[in-house]
């Protein structure tokens, strides 16, 4: 379980990106965060695995007291939390398998990492993760030689290889075309359902959000302005979250039609 307790983040420079946030996310939920650019979506996601430190308030993630973790404790927390990025963040020059094995690092001794020889059981876990996103046949291909959608599937596999309890995805489909976006979203949804992984996704497009979210969280200027089931969110809800009327840019289907 994830619990924010009056949590705030003020960046150096004075921008308040999270303001007195109270929020609870239960195990296995599939949550989508929406909000305008600069609303604080990335900040919320990055606070969960300690990439962005809180400036005040509390945050508990599966029993980890995030604001008061030691360096070692933070690594242990991160080992339980997989992360998926907009820009994939793969090592282009190495193989798909090596990229996925990055998810096993916290469980692998340093000397094995240095010589690049991973235990068989970790390779098996990586292979299983690749198989889940149906890209196992590309295991020994270099990451550069994949399409955008395939690269994001490798990104998902890397997160899965951690055997995580939580997966965070910061705009995972923003660099992909609409059909590929749906493929990636379906994998995320299916993985969350099959493995009971709590999944938190930042999305830009409202139609994607309503299509996949069990629960939608709306942010504006670092504050929670909406929290409800995906089925309940309609155009009015989004107008409230955005504080403006909707445009074609806000939905993937309409934008693709432009």
């Amino acid at each position: 379980m994830i619990r924010f307790d009056k949590a705030s983040v003020t960046y150096p420079g004075g921008v308040v990106a999270m303001k007195d946030l109270d929020l609870e996310i239960g195990d296995g939920e599939f949550v989508v965060i929406v909000g305008l650019s600069g609303a604080g979506k990335s900040t919320l996601i990055r606070a969960i695995n300690g990439l962005v430190p809180l400036t005040s308030g509390g945050l508990d993630v599966n029993g980890h007291d995030v604001p008061n973790l030691s360096a070692k404790g933070r690594r242990q927390l991160r080992a339980e939390v997989g992360m998926i990025f907009q820009g994939f963040n793969l090592v282009d020059r190495t193989t798909v398998l090596n990229n996925v094995l990055m998810g096993r690092l916290p469980r692998v001794p340093l000397w094995r990492t240095l010589i690049g020889k991973y235990p068989d059981e970790d390779i098996q876990i990586a292979a299983k993760a690749l198989d889940r996103v149906e890209i196992l046949d590309r295991a020994y291909v270099r990451a550069t030689n994949l399409s955008g959608g395939q690269r994001q599937r490798v990104g998902i596999a890397r997160a899965l290889a951690q055997e995580p309890k939580i997966v965070l995805a910061d705009e995972p489909v923003a660099s992909l075309d609409p059909p590929t976006s749906h493929v990636v979203m379906k994998y995320l949804q299916q993985i969350s359902r099959d493995l009971g992984i709590t999944t938190i996704v930042n999305l830009h497009f409202l139609d994607l959000a309503t299509a996949y979210a069990d629960r939608i969280i709306g942010l504006r200027n670092g504050e929670l302005v909406f929290d409800g089931p995906g089925s309940e969110a309609d155009e009015h809800t989004f107008r409230d979250i955005y504080g403006r009327s909707l445009t074609a840019d806000d939905t993937m289907a309409k934008q693709a039609a432009l």
């Binding site: 990439l51 339980e80 994939f88 990055m102 340093l110 990492t113 890397r158 951690q162």
Partner: protein, 265 residues
């Protein structure tokens, strides 16, 4: 459609900076040449005179190219270059990593390491060799030590510059997955720089091979020491034989190295 010639926008004039700098360079060169007493007529006169060094080139000693002792000297040169390069390359990778921001979050050790490497680089290889000859005596050992330090300076500098421009995405991913700092460096950083680093190591090997010919002049072993021996005796035909052989070795090694490096990057 007519083929009337397209009119280009007015051509920009060369900037005053370019003009000024070029003029300055020409003046500077002329002034330098005069102060060191260089003159073309003198050069032509000197070349025209029969001199024993030039005569040695005509009577080049082909036999010396393959004599037993020369072969041993060449082998020593190659061994010195290989050992100096390999040892330098091994220590250079961690030093380069620890002297950049991605590899070392601590400012002061980073600055110290960079400064240390700048000092090492400021000392030319020949001076290193001279110092080590004084320290450990004449032979291949001071040569290898000089090449080691010289290699370190070259490879660390080039690799550190490459490290400043790498993709930060994988580093973020490694951190987010709970990797330790060293694991992050090994899995997210090293694969990105490995091709460039290998290419620098090969390039450094070329430099070391050439340098080893000069190192012998101060007594630091290898083919240079044998060249110096013939120079001392005034045996120019044998000297030219060695120089020609050395030239061929360097050409072959460079040709191979360039081919390999092209495949790397």
């Amino acid at each position: 459609m007519s083929d009337s010639p397209l009119r280009l926008p007015p051509k920009p004039k060369p900037s005053p900076w370019t003009v000024g700098l070029s003029l300055g360079m020409v003046v500077f060169t002329v002034v330098c040449a005069r102060t060191v007493g260089f003159s073309f007529s003198g050069l032509v006169e000197d070349l025209g005179r029969t001199n024993p060094v030039a005569q040695g080139l005509v009577d080049i000693s082909w036999g010396e190219m393959f004599s037993e002792r020369s072969r041993r000297a060449f082998l020593e040169t190659l061994q010195m270059a290989v050992i100096g390069t390999t040892a330098g390359a091994v220590v250079s990778l961690p030093i380069a990593l620890w002297s950049t921001e991605v590899g070392n979050p601590y400012l002061i050790p980073r600055v110290l390491l960079r400064s240390f490497n700048n000092v090492v680089r400021a000392i030319p290889d020949l001076l290193w060799a001279g110092l080590f000859v004084l320290g450990v005596g004449i032979g291949a050992l001071p040569g290898v030590l000089a090449l080691f330090f010289f290699s370190m300076a070259v490879i660390v500098k080039l690799t550190a510059d490459t490290l400043d421009g790498i993709d930060m995405g994988p580093i973020e991913a490694a951190k987010a997955s709970g990797a330790s700092h060293t694991q992050m460096l090994r899995t997210a950083v090293v694969p990105q720089i490995l091709p460039a680093y290998s290419s620098y190591v090969l390039y450094d090997f070329e430099l070391n091979l050439r340098a080893s010919a000069v190192l012998g002049l101060v007594g630091a072993g290898g083919i240079g020491q044998r060249i110096d021996f013939f120079r001392g005796r005034g045996d120019w035909s044998k000297l030219w034989g060695l120089v020609l052989m050395f030239f061929l070795v360097v050409v072959v090694v460079e040709w191979l190295s360039v081919k390999i490096r092209r495949r790397l990057v």
